[in-house]
Subunit: 343 residues, 4 copies
């Protein structure tokens, strides 16, 4: 039997009760469709309060779209996007970026999921050469796909290089809340203040039922985004229900409480694992995931009780993620189950 | 002040209380993401019970995507889609079909929103000629964009012609529930049994919070749809919440009760309008809309109280739609307001 | 037996002897590929001499590409192109514009192949509305697909409206030489001076072996065209051979001599047909084509000797075109053959 | 002054005299456009004589198109193409494959330009997983971009693996003539007999003015290629002029004579370089190129006399290519110039 709260991913969790309540509160009565409603107005205002008045926000259905449409707003088809070899954009979107934007993704090898100037410079080649795609965007994921978190300094180095070279910087912030919590920064400090041009602001993995926001700090990139979103099949008719969720998430720091909680749970799991022999933890836990190398046989045994993903088959490395609703007893039960199968 | 229940569109309404409850019931606990969960299994089974065992169902976020991805499953980029000049696909998707599929839409002039063999044959030309796009799909909207409903005979004539000529038939069923209710047919009788290959089954306009289903009766067209959906940015991570809504909608004929109710409300409005001088009703109401030609001045006055769309500026024709939650008193209040501005 | 010089199309003819000689002269020795060569420099300079110093010119392989890539330079994917229902772009490119640009083509009904402000204004709708494609380009064909020629006044009205409304004007000039000859205008007078932004300058139908030029008068649209051309698969490695042909075509008015000749031949055919009963000529010949309505039976009989296209099956209307190499005796022989089958 | 015959690329050369003659012979008289002519028939027959009766051949303008359209014939947009990190397809087409096909290219690191099963297997992952692009084609370049030539055994290993795993194999044969000459194989032996599904058969680099052929041995992939070519903007109206060139190239082994000659010239250059100190030749010359690592200063000095490309800036590696028209005295003059600047 699969346990009701597992460690497969933070999108295996359900909806935060306050979010559900916000949806229910928005549920009756008629409002104009497609975002011309008070719920959307209010949510957009909240984004502007947090990120700065001159911020443009557009809601979309999911993270794939937030990322791909953000790129579409920054590029022409002959442009290229520099990103990590592990970028979700590159590995897990079934070619959605190539299909919608025509862009090539120029990937950088990395051990910890982060990219740096050395790698970026190798891919930043052939500018002006008509045979070569033209790099236009650097996309970084924060928290990275390997559970690491870019420091302020690391991001600033990237955005500085980008802007000196007429490139934009996109942040895939599917877990930006967890990153900000980990860094002890506010949302604006963790994004706009570091020079990010466009942010994919994640909601689904932080307790929303569905919904992501594309947030433009470089607002000249936003002027025709409503058409890109519509042609990209991402304009919700009952927009109020995405807006109401984000409104709630940004009220009284619900986003932060959720992120801190899941980070803390991952830390707890990480700490517990220190005491278990036969497990190798390749990277320190700084957000809401733990990666662990465990014997192959143990994986399949444990998966009978808990659904989770093998991250790297060759290294026998698995990924465990915590969520806003993970409980301490879930961790302890999981660790007990792990100890059992390890024997 | 805009009234809380207006007549602008059936997507201006909120969520049906039972649907909201279904969402809440699915809201806690962890399940595997992306559709590998019991909620999705159960919803798919319900579709199969209704439409036949050999039916393939895929949930997507909205109607744009249901239509465009359905076309993508049926076409290559040099293909063309024959549809009405008023097809939502053509008029209201900001070019999403062209962008995603590369297809040209071959439109047919129509007075009542329906297309027929005469029009189709005019566009069905140049097959085999490399200079010409190759028609591959006929797409019909049921209920049509002009509020009319194709008869069984009309659809059968189209599907017969299509299949004799190696074409597929797609039905944009954003309001298929209203059409089935209007025709007194079951869902299978109103779609599969008439020869439809792929159906966009509408949820949002019949009381869902969000969510549409792409339903394949011609199942060989479905074999790679999961990749098309993912690359089309329409794979929901928390899929259970679309599935749970559809499960509820298909339980105890909620879909039919909602559709019948909104149809009845439109009929009531239609009947009331008969007695008001100065209004021309171009088409009999058979589903959940009333189109009316009223003096231009009256339009703007009425819009101060009720938000609704002008359908045809030249003809001074407006569209009023009813919804699952429209009440008799809403109709009467609206008619009173209309009478007042008409004076 | 098909006659060696027929009247099917001006692309059924071969290469003008001077053009062939220019190719041969450029044929030996090494030059840098992809356009960084003296032949290309010289040809570009010739274009600038004729069209104005601030002209940008790019050579491509064929007319499909000249038109489609020109549109790509003027649009984003959610834009739309307003054109005639008969536009080659719309009817004869197998959907190439939709595939490469994502644009929707908004077509205007026309009897004589020309579009006018009345028609354009009907399609120029929904600007700013996110549900609607955004018209950005008006494309006109000169000579039109129906053999007519826009007057200076007609084009100026279109370009004035366009520029007042933030639209660009593209001219499909596959037969611009014939149009200029017909109007008694220079090339610049017939294009740039009328307000055209981007011109597809036809070579193949005026005696070249292959090759068309995309000519930018609105040079800000050209700044990244080299990437669009390369990604559009239209960068010739041995570019010198397109350049050398255009150089020759623009030398000593070869373009004009060819165009005048073919126009005159069409006029001769047109005059001869006046005297033949049973033939209806729907439009006066002003360039290098004659359209004629002749009995269906006669068509097939004549086609045994001469290959040509039926333009409109319903009207039994055929198209006969003359070319730079059409001879008076070809006309007379054709007319004799026609008279014979008409008996 | 740049020398009239340089070593920059085999597309810096002009047209072989026999090819030019063939063009001239086809130059006058009218024939039906778009390939329905005797020249095209005859050329296609010649391809079938050489490659087997059940071969389908389509002419296109250039190599970019031959490769990209071949891929389009084999893939849907969610598919992926496995190729070398140096594949021309990946490095030098400005993103044309991504734009036209939507495919992701999965690249394999290589030192000698060849890919092998070890590398292929690493990229052949995630089949059936909706999040992952679906590998469908392996594309190999013969001669490779690094001047090496796959052996019969190496190609057979790749095609065997491909066909066992439901993949197609595409060969970018821009220099297939040089490879066949190097291997001592006939054209069919070097392609079809090794299991290749679709071949891009290069003409331009072997003495043609322009023109490449897409050759289908797996003919079921060809059934709709005429539409793909037309929508891909690659249908030549005066097709006879590509056809006549290929006809000539395939007559009396002109292709082989040209290839052997250029290979021999490269071998001569390679041999001469052995005796010059300060030059490192990383790979043995087996076809018509020599790669050499020479001091950076020497490069710029030599480029004053001879235009050529730096292949790898970091390694100070340059590429010199020979052509059908390279003469022994060109080699000796070049070597003298090189010796001079090396001093």
């Amino acid at each position: 039997m699969i346990k009701s709260r597992s460690f497969a991913s933070d999108n295996n969790s359900g909806v935060h009760p306050q979010i559900l309540k916000a949806i229910a509160n928005a549920g009756s009565g008629h409002v104009v469709a497609y975002g011309s409603d008070n719920y959307t107005d209010r949510a957009v205002k909240k984004f502007r309060t947090i990120f700065g008045k001159d911020t443009e926000v557009f809601f979309v259905f999911n993270g794939t779209a937030a990322n791909v449409l953000a790129l579409a707003a920054m590029t022409k088809s002959y442009h290229a996007v520099i990103c990590s070899q592990f970028a979700h954009l590159h590995m897990d979107e079934c070619g959605a970026p190539e299909k919608f934007t025509g862009n090539k993704l120029l990937t950088i090898p990395t051990l910890d999921g982060k990219i740096n100037l050395e790698g970026i410079k190798k891919q930043f080649a052939g500018q002006g050469d008509q045979h070569h795609v033209q790099a236009k965007v650097i996309s970084i994921t924060q928290v990275t796909e390997l559970g690491t978190v870019y420091s302020v300094k690391e991001i600033k180095a990237i955005t500085k290089f980008a802007h000196e070279n007429d490139l934009y910087v996109h942040m895939d912030g599917a877990r930006i809340a967890n990153a900000a919590a980990s860094l002890g920064l506010g949302l604006k400090q963790a994004t706009r203040d570091l020079g990010i041009d466009v942010l994919s602001f994640g909601g689904t993995k932080n307790g929303l039922l569905f919904g992501e926001a594309v947030v433009f700090f470089n607002t000249k990139l936003a002027h025709d985004f409503k058409f890109i979103r519509k042609q990209g099949m991402q304009l919700a008719s009952k927009m109020r229900f995405i807006a109401a969720q984000f409104d709630e998430l940004l009220t009284d720091d619900l986003w932060l409480r959720n992120a801190r909680h899941s980070n803390r749970m991952a830390q707890l799991l990480y700490n517990e694992l220190q005491n278990i022999p036969g497990i190798k933890i390749p990277r320190k836990t700084v957000a809401n995931s733990v990666f662990a190398q465990i014997p192959k046989k143990v994986i399949s045994k444990l998966q009978k009780e808990y659904f989770f993903y093998v991250w790297d088959d060759e290294k026998s490395e698995v990924r465990w993620m915590t969520s806003f609703d993970t409980q301490e007893e879930d961790i302890f039960a999981f660790v007990r189950a792990l100890r059992k199968v390890l024997k």
